[in-house]
Structures are given as structure tokens and as C-alpha cells.
């Protein structure tokens, strides 16, 4: 039985991959299904299989993506592992998949509607192409514009993928707000960074430059954003009640780790 070849844009690590596996199968394989000791949380976009760009040798990758001798599907052919995000057009991105470290897969659809801007402070986990943890007084759209579109900024990125994370009571009261269920390390340092945002004339401040790109999914606030110089897309994160009701296995895995 012939199987279609899919294209995936992995975010951890940043890579373009051809695979004969469906998104759910690929998510499981990527997180847990290999004897190579490379298991763990995974995030990837499903890319339109007809997408092509001169930067990538996609046809060659697809040609090599054939079943194994025993008939089992080829799980992955890496097409590129460098500067991938900036070369993928946003309209080629179909869905975002969040995979827990034990292989539960959740698919998210994109939305044109960005979240309403709110006052207070914000926390962003940059996922690709670099992954610092950043606090900012800017909402997601101005933050994206600052990083990607502002010609005056010294460090400018051609494209970015980031998650807006929950700050809970710290968004309004960084010094004394209750931490509640926010699992962030070095919470006092985070409080200090947030406080400095309100006392200094900067829009954003790096909290941790060595933060891993993975983070607990339960900390996602509005969703995951991906943008380049042309546009910004949001993959809204479902409400907890929706996850518990309709995606119980994923919710349980994501909330227990």
C-alpha cells in the first residue's frame, strides 16, 4: 500500500523533514518511538506537501523517502537543519502539533484572529530560531514587530516562533503576586526582571539566555505565534476545560509533567 509523503517543520531542533508517517504517527515517533536516545517533547508544523523553495532540496528528500525493505514506512528524511523557519512561507504551514515527552500528540489549527491586547507584563518563550526566555511590556503583536519588523533594533530576526506564557498574578504585581501554579525556575530573578521593565525604559528584557526550547505546555497563555516579515500567525491554545474534555490523554500527560 502506497503512503503519501508529508513535510514537517520541526521546531526542536529546527529542521525540515520528509516522512511517510501521518502527523500523529510522526509525533509519537519523534517523541518516543526510536531506540536512538533522542526522545522528549516535540513541536512541529505540518507543511503543505506541495511547498517548494530554492533554499531546500525537497524533491531529493521526497525521492529518498521510500518504505524500508520490510515494507514499513520511512519515518524521517532530514532535508535541512539550518535557517529553516525563515525560508518557509506562512501560507504553507497547515497545523501545529504539540507532542508531550511521552508521545501524546495535540494538533492546533491556525487562527487569523490575534488575542486582544491587554495591559500588564508578558512572558515569551522564543522557540525558533533562537530560544531565550524574555519578559516584555509589549503584547504579542508589538513584540513580534519589535523583533522582526523594527529596523532600528540591533538584533533583528527574519522570522520567529514564540509562545506567550502565563504570568498569572505576576503580570500585574511582579514583586508580590502569588506564584500559584507557575513552575518557572528562579522565580525571584523573574520577579526582578519584570520589576525592571516597569522602572526602566526598555520594551523587553531577557530572563534567561540558556533556556531550553522546551517548556511545560500548561504554561501557554494565548498560544504559539509564528511570523516573518510578511505576516504573523497564531495557533491558539485551547482552554483547559476543552483539553480535559476532548483531549484527555494529552491533557493528563501535559499537566502531570
Amino acid at each position: 500500500m502506497s503512503r503519501d509523503v508529508h513535510l514537517y517543520l520541526s521546531l526542536i531542533p529546527e529542521a525540515l523533514i520528509a516522512s511517510m508517517l501521518t502527523p500523529e504517527e510522526f509525533g509519537i515517533y519523534y517523541a518516543v518511538g526510536t531506540t536512538k536516545k533522542a526522545r522528549g517533547q516535540a513541536m512541529f508544523f505540518e507543511v503543505d506537501p506541495d511547498f517548494r523553495h530554492d533554499y531546500f532540496r525537497i524533491e531529493e528528500g521526497i525521492d529518498r523517502c521510500v518504505p524500508h525493505e520490510d515494507g514499513s514506512p520511512k519515518a524521517s528524511i532530514y532535508i535541512s537543519v539550518y535557517r529553516v523557519l525563515e525560508h518557509v512561507a506562512l501560507d504553507a504551514i497547515k497545523k501545529l502539533y504539540l507532542v508531550t515527552q511521552d508521545g501524546r500528540v495535540l494538533g492546533l489549527d491556525p487562527s487569523d484572529k490575534l488575542p486582544e491586547e491587554t495591559t500588564g507584563l508578558h512572558l515569551y518563550q522564543e522557540i525558533a530560531p533562537v530560544n531565550p526566555l524574555v519578559v516584555s511590556s509589549l503584547g504579542p503583536k508589538p513584540f513580534y514587530e519589535l523583533i522582526v519588523k523594527n529596523p532600528n533594533i540591533l538584533i533583528r530576526l527574519p522570522a520567529i516562533c514564540f509562545a506567550q506564557l502565563r504570568l498569572g498574578k505576576l503580570a500585574e504585581a511582579p514583586e508580590h503576586g502569588n506564584v500559584g501554579d507557575l513552575p518557572y525556575s528562579r522565580i525571584e530573578h523573574l520577579r526582578q526582571c519584570l520589576t525592571e521593565l516597569s522602572t526602566k525604559t526598555v520594551d523587553a528584557k531577557m530572563v534567561n539566555r540558556t533556556e531550553p526550547a522546551t517548556f511545560p505546555y500548561r504554561t501557554i497563555k494565548s498560544g504559539i505565534f509564528v511570523g516573518n516579515e510578511a505576516d504573523l500567525l497564531l495557533f491558539p491554545f485551547p482552554k483547559v476545560e476543552d483539553l480535559r474534555t476532548n483531549h484527555y490523554r494529552w491533557w493528563r500527560s501535559a499537566w502531570s509533567t
Binding site: 509519537i28 501554579d181 493528563r252
Partner: protein, 694 residues
């Protein structure tokens, strides 16, 4: 006034009624819907694992019971009244009776444990299935199944004791029955504790910490062993533990009764039988209490269990008052009974204070966890030490009140202390029913998860499980306190038996052999704890390797395409637990006898004193600290101080893992250890009194 044989027959009848109701409830639970094919398949893994372990355990115990029975038959075949003199004669009937009582005690304890565990592994899936309908139905199935254990336990104990008394009329023979029950309880409790924590630690460390899969996930190769462990540790083990305290306290009080009213044999017999009558009334009170345990719409399972306990206490208090007044007993005995009853319940609820997330100790331990595992452990350990104080104060109060209230009423104060222990344990039917409910709903939750039941069902079983954890904490506090009072009574009984052989037991620290005995006794509980906990770490290490191997060699397990080899982990846990029992068992039975025969009866008195004091303190510390660490972690997981995945949570997981063998292996086994050592000493006291080096 009724004849003694009639009193004993009434007790026998009460015991038979209790067993009869247990059998009826057993069948009622079996008639409930066992659920979907998948749920039954998951339940069958747990059932088979539990039965395999118990078969191996009871086969081992049968051999131990037969060998020890033979030794007892030979030793007690001599006329112990004249041991050490040339007038010694053979008394084979007494030896046979003692050995038979010993084996009967072991068998009754085993039957109660097996009945409780058999129905627990039937009820878990039925409770999960009933949770699809309502919380009320699921609770009812689980609680009635727990009641099978509670009622079978007290019923068989009373049947055994009253039956032996009716046949022999000699409480010392019942001591053999008690020793048999305790010896089995020690092995069942310690073995179950080692089994359950071996599986729990391996499942958590590899599954949750290393791989990141949630609790009760069917992809974890150790998950079935973990669920089996809940049954063999908390149902069969805890049941056997309370069974042994229940019988030991009753027989110790009966023995002390033999020293009362020497000039009036009728009054003496009535006081020998008084503890047995209290047990019978406790059974009736428990039957009433169990009837009232129910969850109405919107009700809370925890409140239902507490209501049952309080109703049982109230009914028992009324019945005990009626017995004392109608039976012409001294009122001091009523005060002693009530002192024990109230103290037991209060101490149980005190344990809840130190282990519940509603109160400061757990919240504070969770709060400081953000500073790391070391601070979590220091804080939890410190609160564990503090938790000893109210329980010890309760035991002191019960001891002094019962002693002086009976003395002031003109009856031996020591007998009063024995009666307060019986009063405390009289409601064991209800207490064990609530306790056994815990692992059943814990399993029900696991089955709901593994069988892929809906989120609503899992949430219902979560609510049931939370009440089970509280009941478990209360039972542990109750069991330890009851064991403490029991061994104090046994200590008095030991002195009584030695005194009857012409030795005036003077336990003075100015006597070097007594000091030696105290010191040796003091190290026995910590040494025993170390042996059992090292067994857990050894066995857990093997199982961790097995779980890692399965994940490494078969990636399909995590992908959900290949089933794990559950049986391999079940077999490892069972083999490891049984192999680990040799030294702890030897320590419990041989050490006091060695001290007695070498250093003499006074040194053995000191040995028992030392072991009682450190045993009670270690048991309370380890049970409460372990429960506190467990709930501090759960409190963080419920969304406080950073929740799951935070630094506080990582520290909480370390504290919980340290506390696991504290609270479920070593701590609860110590009750049984000190009871077994006291019983072995009392049983062999006449022989030790005749033969000792110093």
C-alpha cells in the same frame, strides 16, 4: 448471672455473625457489574498478580507455621509448672493444644487477609464501573468490599479466641493463637510493604521521572505490580497488622484477668471473659456503623467514612455501658474502656492533622520545597518528629486514666490498661473497613485510567481516592497507638506470667543486665526498619533495571503499539519481597528469646521496654513523615508553589520517594514487630524463667 460458657458462646456467635455478614457482602460485591471487557482484562492482571504473590507468601508461611508449631508442640509438651525441677513431667496434650492454637491463629489471620484481598481485587473494577453511574454507587461497592476485610478480621479473631476458650478454658493457650496471628501478620505486613514500595518506586522513578508518563499509565511495565502492591500491602498487610493487635490486646487483658479475684473463681472468669465481650459488642457496633456509611447526592466520601466511625464509637459506648451495668462489672472498667476508645479515635484524627493538606505541616513543607529537596526533607522529618508528641501524650493519658480510674474503683490498674487497649481496638471492624476501602478505590482509579474510561469516571474515582488517603492516615495512627497500648498490656502480662513462676520481676536500670536488655531492645526497631528499607532499595534497583530494559529494547511500548511485560515486574517484586523476609523474621522471634535465655527474664523485661519505646516512636515518625511528604507533593501538584514541573515539585518528588518506604514498609511493620516480640516473650516466659544463663 450467665455461665462463663454462655458468655463465650455469645462471643462465638457474634464472631460468626460478623463472618457471615462478611461472606454476604463478599457475594453482594461479586454480583455487581464487572464492567467492559477491557476493564476486566486490566483487573485480571492485578488479580492474578496479587493471587500469585499471596499463594507464594502463604506457602512460605505455611512451612514457617508448621515448623514453629512443631517446636511449640515439643517445648510446651513439658509440664512448664515444674520446669527446672526433677518433678517435671510430660504434658503432650497441652503442647498439642498450644501448637494447634498457634497454627489456628496463623490460619485465621491468613483467611482474613486472603478474603479481604480477594474481594478487593474483585471490587476495584466494579467500583470503577459503578463510577460510570454515580459517585454513590462506586463508593458503596468499594466500602462494602472494604467491610469484608474488616468484618472477616474481627469475626475470625473472636471465633478463634472464644472457640479456644470454650475448648480449653485457658487464656495462655489463646496466647498461642495470638502468637500465630502475629507471626503471620509480621511477615504479611513486612512482605507486603516491601512489595508495594518496590513496585511504586520503580514505577515512579522510571515511568514518571525518567520517561515522563503519568501515574497509572498502562504503558508503564511496573504499573500492574504497583496496583498489586496496593492490595498486598494495604489490604492483606494492614488487615493482618490490626488483626494481630486486636487479638494480642484481648488475650493480654484476658491473661491479666486471671490474676483478679483469686478467691472468687466465678468473678475471675467473668473478668477473663470481659475483653471478649467487649470485642463482641465492638462487632455489633461496627455492623451498625457500616450500615450508616453512605454517600448521598452531593455528599462527601470522607465525611461518610468519618460518620461511620463516630456512629460506631457511639453505639459501642452505649453497649459497653449496658454490659458493665447489666453484668455487674465495676464502673472503673467502663471508664477504662471509654478512655481507650476516645484516645484511639483522637490519635487517629491527630495523624490526619500532620498528614493532610488542609493543615499547616503539609502546606509548610510544600512551601519550603522551592528551596530544594534537602529543605523539604528536613522540614518533613521535623514535623514527623513533632507528630509523635500528641500521640504519645494520648497513649500516656489513656494509660494513666485507665490505670488510676480502675485502681480507684478497686480493680487492678494494670488490668484497666489492658481493657483500655481492648476498648481502643474494639471498633477495629469499622476502622479496617475504612482502611481497606482506600486501596480498592486507588486501584479503581488505576483501572479507570488503564481501561481508557471517560474523564468523568476518572474524576469520580479521584474523589473516592482522596477520602481513602485520609482514612489510611487515620488508620495508621490508630493502629500504632493501639499496638503501643497492646504491648504495654503484654508487658504486664509477661511480668504476670514470670511472676507466676516465682520470679519477682524488678526492672531496674541499676541492674546491668536490665540496662543491656533495654539497649538491645532499643536498637531492634531501627535495625528492623533498616533491614526492610534496604530490601526495598535492593528490590527497587532490580525492578528499575527491568523497567528501563523494557523501554530501551521495545520502543513500541511507549508508542502504544506493544504491550509491556507486566508479569516480569510482578514476579520480580514477589520474589524480592519474600526473599527479604528472612532476617526481619529471625530478628523478631529469635532476638527476644536469645536475650531471655542468655541474660534472663529481667533483661528480657528491659529488652521489651526498650523495643516498645523506640518502636512506637519510630513507627509514628515514619508513618506520619512519609504521609506528610506524600501529601506535600500532591499539594504542589494541585497547583501551589509552582505546581507540577516546578523546582518545588522536583523537591517534593524526592521527599515523597524517601517517605514511601517510611510510611508503607518500615513504619507500619514496627507495630507488628513489637507485638510479636512481646508475644514471643510472654509465651516462652515460663521456660525462660526456668532456664537462663544470668
Amino acid at each position: 448471672m450467665l455461665e462463663p460458657q454462655v458468655w463465650a458462646a455469645v462471643a462465638l456467635l457474634a464472631g460468626l455473625i460478623s463472618v457471615g455478614v462478611a461472606v454476604w457482602l463478599y457475594r453482594w460485591v461479586q454480583r455487581q457489574d464487572p464492567g467492559s471487557e477491557r476493564a476486566q482484562e486490566v483487573a485480571s492482571w492485578i488479580r492474578e498478580g496479587a493471587r500469585t504473590y499471596l499463594r507464594r507468601l502463604y506457602l512460605t508461611l505455611t512451612l514457617v507455621a508448621l515448623v514453629m508449631g512443631l517446636i511449640i508442640a515439643i517445648v510446651f509438651a513439658f509440664d512448664i509448672e515444674h520446669l527446672g525441677t526433677e518433678a517435671v513431667t510430660l504434658a503432650p496434650r497441652r503442647g498439642f493444644a498450644m501448637a494447634t492454637a498457634f497454627v489456628a491463629g496463623a490460619i485465621c489471620s491468613a483467611i482474613a487477609g486472603y478474603m479481604g484481598m480477594s474481594i478487593a481485587v474483585e471490587a476495584n473494577v466494579r467500583s470503577a464501573t459503578a463510577a460510570q453511574e454515580s459517585l454513590r454507587d462506586a463508593f458503596q461497592v468499594a466500602f462494602y468490599a472494604g467491610s469484608v476485610m474488616g468484618l472477616a478480621m474481627v469475626g475470625l479473631a473472636v471465633v478463634g479466641m472464644s472457640g479456644i476458650y470454650m475448648l480449653t478454658g485457658d487464656p495462655e493457650i489463646i496466647l498461642g493463637f495470638s502468637f500465630g496471628a502475629s507471626a503471620l501478620a509480621l511477615l504479611a505486613k513486612a512482605g507486603g510493604g516491601i512489595y508495594t514500595k518496590t513496585a511504586d518506586i520503580a514505577a515512579d522513578l522510571v515511568g514518571k521521572v525518567e520517561i515522563g508518563i503519568p501515574e497509572d499509565d498502562p504503558r508503564n511495565p511496573a504499573v500492574v505490580a504497583d496496583n498489586v502492591g496496593d492490595n498486598v500491602g494495604d489490604v492483606a498487610g494492614m488487615g493482618a497488622d490490626v488483626f494481630d493487635s486486636y487479638v494480642a490486646s484481648t488475650v493480654a487483658a484476658m491473661l491479666l484477668g486471671t490474676s483478679l479475684f483469686i478467691a472468687d473463681p466465678a468473678a475471675q472468669v467473668r473478668h477473663v471473659l470481659f475483653p471478649l465481650m467487649l470485642c463482641s459488642l465492638g462487632i455489633l457496633a461496627s455492623l451498625v456503623g457500616i450500615r450508616f456509611v453512605r454517600v448521598d447526592k452531593g455528599g462527601s466520601p470522607g465525611r461518610a467514612l468519618n460518620s461511620g466511625t463516630i456512629i460506631t464509637c457511639g453505639v459501642f459506648a452505649v453497649l459497653a455501658t449496658a454490659l458493665v451495668l447489666a453484668g455487674g462489672y465495676n464502673l472503673g472498667l467502663l471508664w477504662a474502656t471509654l478512655a481507650g476508645l476516645v484516645t484511639g479515635v483522637v490519635i487517629g484524627f491527630t495523624s490526619d492533622y500532620y498528614t493532610s493538606s488542609r493543615f499547616r505541616p503539609v502546606v509548610e513543607t510544600a512551601r519550603v520545597s522551592g528551596s530544594g529537596a534537602a529543605i523539604n526533607i528536613i522540614t518533613g522529618f521535623s514535623y514527623g518528629l513533632v507528630s509523635i508528641v500528641p500521640s504519645i501524650a494520648g497513649i500516656v493519658l489513656a494509660t494513666l486514666l485507665s490505670f488510676y480510674l480502675t485502681e480507684l474503683s478497686g480493680i487492678s490498674g494494670v488490668y484497666g490498661v489492658g481493657i483500655s487497649a481492648v476498648g481502643m481496638l474494639s471498633i477495629s471492624g469499622m476502622i479496617v473497613s475504612s482502611d481497606a476501602y482506600g486501596p480498592i478505590v486507588d486501584n479503581a482509579r488505576g483501572i479507570a485510567e488503564m481501561a481508557g474510561m471517560s474523564q468523568d469516571v476518572i474524576e469520580t474515582t479521584d474523589v473516592l481516592d482522596a477520602a481513602g488517603n485520609t482514612a489510611k492516615a487515620i488508620t495508621k495512627g490508630f493502629a500504632i497507638s493501639a499496638a503501643a497500648l497492646t504491648v504495654l498490656t503484654l508487658f504486664a502480662a509477661y511480668a504476670e506470667v514470670v511472676g507466676a513462676r516465682g520470679i519477682d520481676l524488678v526492672i531496674s536500670l541499676r541492674n546491668p543486665v536490665v540496662t543491656a536488655g533495654v539497649l538491645l531492645g532499643s536498637v531492634a526497631p531501627p535495625f528492623f526498619s533498616a533491614l526492610t528499607m534496604l530490601s526495598v532499595t535492593d528490590n527497587a534497583f532490580d525492578m528499575i533495571e527491568e523497567v528501563r530494559r523494557q523501554f530501551e529494547e521495545r520502543p513500541g511500548i511507549l508508542a502504544g503499539t506493544v504491550a509491556p511485560d507486566y508479569a516480569a515486574c510482578v514476579a520480580l517484586a514477589a520474589r524480592g519481597a519474600l526473599a527479604s523476609l528472612v532476617w526481619p523474621a529471625f530478628l523478631a522471634i529469635a532476638l527476644p528469646l536469645l536475650v531471655g535465655f542468655v541474660l534472663g527474664p529481667e533483661a528480657l523485661g528491659g529488652f521489651l521496654g526498650g523495643s516498645i519505646f523506640t518502636g512506637v516512636i519510630f513507627a509514628l515518625l515514619m508513618s506520619n513523615a512519609g504521609g506528610l511528604w506524600d501529601n506535600a507533593k500532591k499539594y504542589i501538584e494541585s497547583g501551589h508553589f509552582g505546581g507540577s514541573g516546578s523546582d518545588a515539585h522536583k523537591a517534593g518528588v524526592v521527599g515523597d520517594t524517601v517517605g514511601d518506604p517510611f510510611k508503607d514498609t518500615a513504619g507500619p511493620s514496627l507495630n507488628t514487630l513489637i507485638t510479636v516480640m512481646s508475644l514471643a516473650s510472654s509465651l516462652f516466659a515460663p521456660i525462660i524463667a526456668a532456664f537462663h544463663l544470668f
